[in-house]
Symmetry: C2
Subunit: 336 residues, 2 copies
DNA sequence: TATAATAAGCGAAAGGTTTCGTTTAAGAGG
DNA sequence: CCTCTTAAACGAAACCTTTCGCTTATTATA
């Protein structure tokens, strides 16, 4: 492989001039042409390892995900990546298949890879493990925790106000006269699941409706879980008249189950889903869904991380949650 | 950050001995202990950039995907990653959001990142662009093209025999007396779409059924496309009695459309889907689907790439397609 | 014309590791 | 006690850039 030394020799200019050319310093026009040509003909490419060794920067951001096929994150990551790319950063995505050991290992890998910044979707992460991992490097790598809050980790977060929006969704059901409202929630270990439950619970409480534990079904945020739990709710001796499903995959499962049982939404069961404008377009009648501000989440995450990587730690730690909204449609029936 | 020099100073041993310790050479037991302790207390971590600079290896494999949320690939990538990890390799996943420019750029990035191997799911890639990209390095990076064949690229491939399995699926319809069989296919620019069409076409031809172009709908492998095209087929003046949908996302869309229109499978429309055992578990009646050997695809890809990275180029280029199978279920009705 | 200021280019050190050829130490055999 | 062999450790070069302090050339200012 051609090195700067080769370019130097080929042009008769010193290595430092070549470096200047590459990194945008002042170089005489005729020499610029000379160097440009030499780089072309020699097919010279900067050696990133050598550069990183000197600069301690890799222009690379690590993104750690529980899995690749979670549509909510897939969309956000695409946006974040695009934004970072504009600033010259490249994203390295690692997934850990919901496995605690892998989660730790991949995090260590990213840090060892000397990423300049980290975006983490924590699943089994603890404050201790994160601190340990970040200690692998002298200077702590700027880190943004995405979507999920972890007890004890003081860090920049980009979160969504799940409590409020689930409260809204539940209120909506109540407004239409529903009293038996089923909840399909995620693993309580994940903050978003707890928050969504909290919102649901708050709304019930405000209307003095008792929370019936049987109506709260815990799943693992997967399509299968949504399918199964929807069935369980429907098959209860005294089933709910309305169901709130709290992520995309489970909503997909639930809707599939509803179709399969030929249960009409909303005449036979009222329903609110989560996260998916596309699904809503597709389904008739369109269902009311909780819409998370994915574009804003992505933008906030990217900007925040860029800011930190540029050394600007003002407003640390960032935590203000973003507002989610209810996209009202025709999936809720009035109960007398 | 502590360096080997620090460990050396701290233990009184030379740097090369430290290196030997780290890379598994012969070191006196007492010195091993000494070094181990020093590494602990100094919190020493090997600097990968420096190491790569010397060794020209990064123990890293690049995986390039059209998008992150294609379930077929998400599953395979997870498996491949796991296998590679066992051999000490880490995967870097890049997606390009179906964008030709990004596809080229991300490929260049991975190569510049000095990955030791590449796994490519090509979408707009051409022989020329690939050759150009690989020319960024002195030695061509071992590369496996996954799932999709690209005209003119002579390389290791891991492919599936789409022709045969789609022929089988179509034959199955014919066997049950169907003559008007709809096909929901992907973009003809992608080899798998062409092959699936070829299989469909071959089966019709063998039974002397004319291929009616109106019954062949081209989509972009997305849920939306599946939903829309299923509707278009059903809304025809003379609709098909059976429909073959040729990837997971489009199958999902098609099934959603069927449920929504309250079309009973198979009594009102016979259907064969693609790729998703999970969906099949969920749906009642379970639908007949084309099952691609994802585990085998992942295993083959990983082993092949490992072999190449170890310098073993026997059997190059690998191309033998893997057999896909039909998982027969109850989604096909008999037509008199 | 002399001086200052700026632009362009240079040389050498530094960054952390691996590798190769060499030296030292230790144990075996006579 | 001496040589031979092998194991363990060493030193220095090499990998390719960036950076910093200097020198030289050019232009502007008075």
């Amino acid at each position: 492989m051609a090195t700067m030394k080769d370019v130097s020799r080929c042009t008769g200019l010193s290595i430092s001039t070549i470096s200047k050319y590459i990194n945008g310093g002042n170089v005489l026009a005729k020499n610029q042409a000379l160097i440009g040509d030499a780089i072309q003909t020699l097919n010279f490419k900067v050696n990133r390892q050598a550069r990183s060794l000197k600069t301690n920067r890799t222009m690379t951001v690590g993104i750690l995900l529980p899995a690749l096929d979670i549509s909510f994150f897939a969309g956000i990551v695409a946006d974040v990546e695009a934004r970072l790319f504009k600033e010259g950063y490249n994203a390295i995505i690692c997934s850990f298949d919901h496995d605690p050991a892998q989660e730790a290992r991949k995090l260590a890998f990213l840090i060892d890879q000397q990423v300049d910044g980290l975006i983490l979707v924590a699943e089994h992460m603890t404050a201790l493990k994160l601190r340990e991992a970040l200690a692998r490097r002298e200077r702590v790598t700027p880190t943004v925790l995405l979507d999920r809050f972890v007890e004890g980790i003081q860090s920049d977060y980009v979160l969504v106000d799940n409590v409020r929006v689930c409260e809204l969704a539940t209120e909506q059901f109540i407004l239409y006269g529903h009293k038996r409202i089923g909840l399909i929630m995620g693993p309580p270990a994940i903050s978003t699941a707890r928050e969504r439950l909290a919102g649901y619970s708050a709304a019930l409480c405000a209307s003095e409706i008792d929370l019936c534990p049987d109506l709260v079904k815990v799943g693992d945020y997967s399509v299968n879980a949504g399918y199964r739990l929807f069935g369980e709710l429907i098959d209860m001796p005294n089933p709910p008249t309305a169901i709130l499903s709290t992520n995309y995959e489970m909503t997909l499962g639930a809707v599939t189950a509803a179709y399969e049982r030929n249960l009409k939404i909303p005449s036979e069961i009222s329903f609110i889903g989560y996260d998916d404008p596309q699904l809503t377009q597709i389904i008739k009648p369109p269902i009311t869904i909780v819409l998370q501000p994915t574009a804003q989440i992505a933008a906030t995450t990217a900007e925040l991380l860029l800011k930190r990587m540029h050394g600007d730690y003002s407003g640390f730690p960032h935590a203000a949650p973003l507002k989610a909204s209810l996209m009202l449609n025709e999936s809720i029936a009035r109960i007398k």
